[in-house]
Amino acid sequence: MKSLAELEEIRKKTLEQISLRKSNDGMRVIVGMATCGIAAGARPVMTAFVEELNKRNMTDVTVTMTGCIGVCRLEPIVEVIDKDGNKTTYVKMTPEKAVRIVAEHIVNGRVCADYTIGEADK
């Protein structure tokens, strides 16, 4: 260890890896992982979210799971909650849609309206 800067570098790098254990105010991605969700393919969707966020190094976004929301016919369902608590519900998700949601909604704050529950029922 030759300098404080070197120490700071290790600190930052490790903190990103373990930020999960600190209270987090960032965005949350909640994937419905009940039997209906899993049967409809929620796992690859969630994996896609994790991988995409990983690629972009977005450690302040948490990916969690939840049970059945009740609209099983629209599974896989994913909810994205932004920093202000606004909830967007995406339905009939696929890994490809997940990648787009990360890029547009999570990074740039533009809701992908065509994937939302409101669109699906029209």
Binding site: R11, T14, E16, L20, T59, M65
Partner: protein
């Protein structure tokens, strides 16, 4: 770099390890692989969470759900339900505090439980949060930043000044101001000096130092390096109990990692400061926790104390100036350097600053480790954090300070705990063991227990301790056997006074404390033993007998069949009788009687 969506923290402290947490970790590896989650979920072995009574403990992030008393068989359910499907396994959640009804409530159960909410963690800040075998995780939580700050921004004198201003006092026993101790050593002429750590935690029931060593070993290494810089030393020794294998192993790993990173060794942080650290295993005697005996033992001799002065700060290890602090004291140092003396003085009471870790045990629901600001009342520790006394029994006394301390009776439950208030009550802080006793405890028996310990552990160098404590124990044994004589209590008092005044080291000088403090608050109990030959709590066996109530006895004969020494006789339609000469007072008959006709006569 691999990011995980969930971290599963499994306690790897001694308490949870002994209840199988190693096997739980292995099972998680199997279950994660089975469900193909190994790239999404990370298993982290941490230090002690403090709630040892509920172990093994597992915390799952990002939810922060805390599972308690987890069995190896539960791992499959946690993996399939929580980690795979996101459904928290409610039946395993921490039950004390409140019932988590849904996942949202459970998500904050760790921080919200009464046990954790009322604590303030400074010395234990990283225990149960980081992986102690990963130096990077310690660094992530501001580790080694204080050392960096000290070496690059502060002069040695500045470090000592901050410590002095902070009011930090030794957490191992006497409560001597740490900054002052360092100052004495720093003012000695330049030359070889040593920094030592006392990790020879020997008080019955105390395990806070073990938890820091197991859960956050780097904080000790960092603090010792800071101390070395402050007094002008380049060599340190940690004297750690050999009976703490996990602590020794983690400290060894931590030292190796620190050396690899250049945080120990030569030219640390590019300065001309060098520091090396070695572990010395304890010799297994209680007296080796006394500072002069400890240093004698580090030198390779038989651990015996020597008279002071000269104090270690002047003439310590190999006759060189040496500072010796205990683990918990050191664990506070990096935080003080980083956050400043003012922050530290804002916690605690006028003369006792900061927090104190207590190992709470005995008749209490939440056995474990708690850290509270100085000045917290005993009532808060016992009832609010400790969860009260099991089976709704009454609080009788709390023993603090181990064999050097004393008992605090129920009438002083609301006294704010700090160094000075405990001394006033006739006890002491000691290292922080806190043993709670309920109404069924006999105070004479407790005093005897601690004196037995001192007699056993006396090194024998000075007669007051070697002979005096033995004589005191003989008197106590007599009293508890119902053979107490008039004048015995006075004899105890005279012996105690003389031992206190003449013993060579702190251990001998404080050895009579358990007797003195119980005499002070529970003299009537001693009188009952000596004069009435009765033990009010029904603990001292020779003074109580089991009796059969002739009216309630149905002559079923179950007690006679169960009695291991055939002391009970009788026949049909005649009440049974216990032969008191044969009875060994095991209590089996009372337990087995279906009509509750047998009771203890005290």
């Amino acid at each position: 770099m691999q990011l995980y969506r969930s971290h599963v923290l499994v306690c790897g402290g001694t308490g949870c390890t002994s209840s199988n947490s190693e096997k739980i970790i292995a099972e998680f590896d199997v279950q994660l692989a089975r469900n193909n989650l190994q790239n999404e979920v990370k298993i982290v072995k941490t230090g002690c969470f403090g709630l040892c009574a509920e172990g093994p403990i597992i915390v799952v992030y990002p939810e922060g759900a805390m599972y308690t008393m987890v069995k190896v068989e539960d791992v499959k359910e946690i993996t399939e339900e929580h980690l795979l499907k996101g459904r928290i396994v409610k039946r395993l959640l921490l039950s004390s505090g409140h019932d988590a009804k849904d996942a949202d409530e459970a998500s904050s159960s760790l921080e919200n439980s009464e046990f954790f909410k009322r604590q303030m963690r400074v010395a234990l800040r990283n225990c149960g949060i980081i992986n102690p075998e990963q130096i990077d995780e310690y660094i992530a939580y501001d580790g080694y930043k204080a050392l960096g700050k000290a070496l690059t921004e502060l002069k040695p004198a500045d470090v000592i000044e901050i410590l002095k201003k902070s009011g930090l006092r030794g957490r191992g026993g006497g409560g001597f101001p740490t900054g002052l101790k360092w100052d004495f050593a720093a003012k000695q002429p330049e030359g070889k000096k040593y920094v030592c750590c006392n990790a020879d935690e020997g008080d019955p029931g105390a395990f806070m130092d073990r938890s820091v060593l197991e859960g956050d070993p780097h904080s000790l290494i960092e603090a010792m390096a800071i101390a070395a810089y402050a007094i002008g030393s380049d060599q340190g020794y940690v004297y750690v109990r050999a009976e703490y294998p996990i602590a020794v192993k983690r400290l060894q790993i931590a030292i190796e990692q620190a050396k690899e990173y250049g945080l120990l060794g030569k030219n640390i942080f590019g300065t001309d400061f060098n520091f090396d650290l070695e572990i010395r295993l304890g010799a297994g005697a209680f007296v080796c926790g006394e500072e002069t005996a400890l240093m004698t033992s580090v030198e390779g001799h038989r651990g015996e104390p020597r008279p002071r002065p000269p104090f270690p700060a002047v003439k310590g290890l190999w006759d060189k100036p040496t500072i010796l602090n205990n683990v918990e004291t050191y664990a506070n140092v990096p935080v003080i350097i980083l956050k400043g003396a003012e922050w530290f003085t804002s916690i605690g009471t006028e003369k006792s600053k900061g927090t104190k870790v207590f190992a709470v045990g005995g008749n209490i629901n939440n056995t474990g480790l708690v850290e509270v600001p100085m000045g917290t009342t005993l009532r808060e520790v016992v009832y609010d954090i400790g969860g009260g006394i099991p089976k709704g029994k009454k609080f009788k006394a709390a023993q603090t300070g181990g064999p050097s301390g004393g008992c605090i009776p129920a009438s002083h439950l609301d006294t704010p705990i700090d160094y000075d208030s405990l001394i006033q009550l006739g006890s002491m802080m000691g290292s922080g063991g806190l043993i709670v006793m309920d109404e069924d405890s006999c105070m004479v028996d407790i005093a005897k227990f601690f004196l037995e310990f001192t007699v056993e552990e006396s090194c024998g160098k000075c007669p007051p301790c070697r002979i005096g404590t033995k004589r005191m124990l003989e008197v106590l044994e007599r009293i508890t056997e119902g053979k107490g004589e008039e004048g015995d209590i006075e004899k105890l008092e005279i012996l105690a006074k003389n031992i206190k005044a003449s013993a060579l080291c702190g251990l001998g000088q404080t050895a009579p404390n358990p007797v003195l403090s119980t005499l002070r608050y529970f003299k009537d109990e001693y009188m009952a033993h000596v004069v009435d030959k009765k033990c009010p709590a029904g603990v001292c066996k020779s003074m109580m007998k089991y009796v059969i109530d002739a009216d309630a006895c149905k002559s079923c004969g179950i007690c006679a069949k169960q009695c291991p020494v055939s002391a009970i006789s009788g026949e049909k339609k005649v009440p049974y009788v216990i032969d008191q000469d044969k009875c060994i007072k095991c209590g089996v008959c009372m337990e087995k009687c279906p009509f509750k006709a047998i009771f203890k006569n005290v």
